[in-house]
Subunit: 267 residues, 2 copies
């Protein structure tokens, strides 16, 4: 109950904050998502540490932040910066313990990619098209409604578990309800004329299916990480906040997929 | 002795082959380095497997190959392809064992980056400037001479070990000799007028220092990987060939650093 209350509180404060940041854009938008990425990355590193690996926390966070600044301010240099980051990470291995070097380096790299690089596609979605703001609104709305309806459908109709070894509470009915929620959301956007102006009706429907299916897949990916680490709830790792990984897991997959989708639509 | 003979044989056959591929370019150049990257990647995965992690070998090789094809044929799509690759890798985690998922995913990702992504900068060096071929000739020559002189100086004058916990045979004298070899190489290029035509004398000297220092650093990075895995020689892992990781370790760092250097010079 306490957990649900915290979760609702975060939603009540978090959702308007995110919508506002997407609307105004610029530096506040950048900093807001840099903080989300960095906190998520710390949580991921703490999960990894539960498994005995020792990712280079500070270097990883630094490179993640460097990446997000690059994508925001000088996206045309993203590739050389990426190459530079990987090179620095490898060279940093020379100054760290040899025992476990491979796994520590690899998990540091994973942490740079999983939250910051994947979340940085939000910046590209907003800046690469004149109507990127609407794309982001539709992305956030469809994933939130998807999550909420998945929860409600799961509670009401859920019997058959979908993947109990990964996520013991998720049911087939919940997942179907979530997908339906994402599609209904994009239909409402279409009905109200809020859809990105370069998208046809069919493209909007596909958008809803993508976020509905892959947003939930993102949730499962994070569940696997927690299962592997033997941790039930990422918020337990960093006390005093609500578990950023848990809140944004759908977006770590949903955002890059939408970025790829609109890149393809607009190519 | 047998090892030295094999090594010389590989050099006698390998060096002309590489120079020829750099000269002719095109598909042979692509395939040649794709094979080197893939074999190196398999060796890295075998090293990682020695440590008990289970990277997704086939998927990793496939993504590495996809990456090299992308950089060669459609470099303008490198970033979306990267995002797609990372997303696929994460989703693939849903179909693999949960136990060890974080480390297995992370090491798969490392394998995609360490040989293929870093080596793919060779393609960009060749295609991004009209004189990229000369840059590559100078890169290969300076690293080869660096390696050879490091070996000779180490044998003749080497007493003080430089980092015995990483590489028990490397001496200060060897490293200094290697650096001198790289610088002498670029001086010879300059003297013969073979240097890339956009480079000044000072820029050529800096080139030699970069390859001399960072090529050797690349050698140390690979030594750390082998030390961590408790393996002395990467060739022992894939019998019947000479150990691709050992042969190209200097280039995994040398190539990206030269790519960054000329990107900066030409910006």
């Amino acid at each position: 109950m306490h957990n649900l209350a915290t979760r609702m509180m975060i939603n009540v404060l978090g959702i308007p904050a995110i919508l506002l940041m997407v609307k105004i854009g610029g530096i506040p938008f950048l900093i807001f998502f840099m903080v989300i990425a960095a906190v998520s990355q710390v949580e991921l590193y703490l999960l990894i540490a539960e498994k005995g690996q020792r990712p280079a926390l500070f270097l990883g966070i630094l490179l993640g932040a460097l990446w997000m600044l690059t994508v925001f301010f000088i996206p045309q240099y993203a590739f050389p910066v990426l190459i530079g980051m990987v090179t620095i990470l490898l060279l940093a291995g020379l100054f760290r313990p040899i025992q476990g070097a491979l796994a520590n380096l690899a998990t540091t790299l994973l942490g740079v990619f999983y939250p910051p690089v994947l979340l940085s596609t939000l910046f590209l979605i907003r800046s690469n098209t004149h109507d990127g703001r609407q794309v982001l609104f539709m992305l956030f709305a469809s994933i939130w409604i998807c999550d909420s309806l998945a929860y409600v459908f799961g509670k009401w109709f859920g019997r058959r578990k979908i993947a109990p070894h990964i996520s013991p509470h998720k049911t087939v009915a919940g997942c179907v309800g979530g997908l339906a929620g994402a599609v209904v959301t994009v239909l409402i956007f279409w009905y109200l004329g809020w859809q990105p102006d370069f998208m046809s009706f069919n493209q909007v429907i596909i958008f809803g299916i993508l976020t509905g299916v892959l947003g939930q897949a993102g949730d499962f990916v994070e569940s696997i990480f927690k299962r592997d680490a033997g941790v039930k709830d990422s918020s337990r790792l960093l006390l005093g906040h609500g578990g950023m990984l848990d809140r944004f897991d759908s977006f770590f997959i949903g955002a890059p997929v939408v970025y790829l989708y609109i890149t393809w639509l607009l190519k």
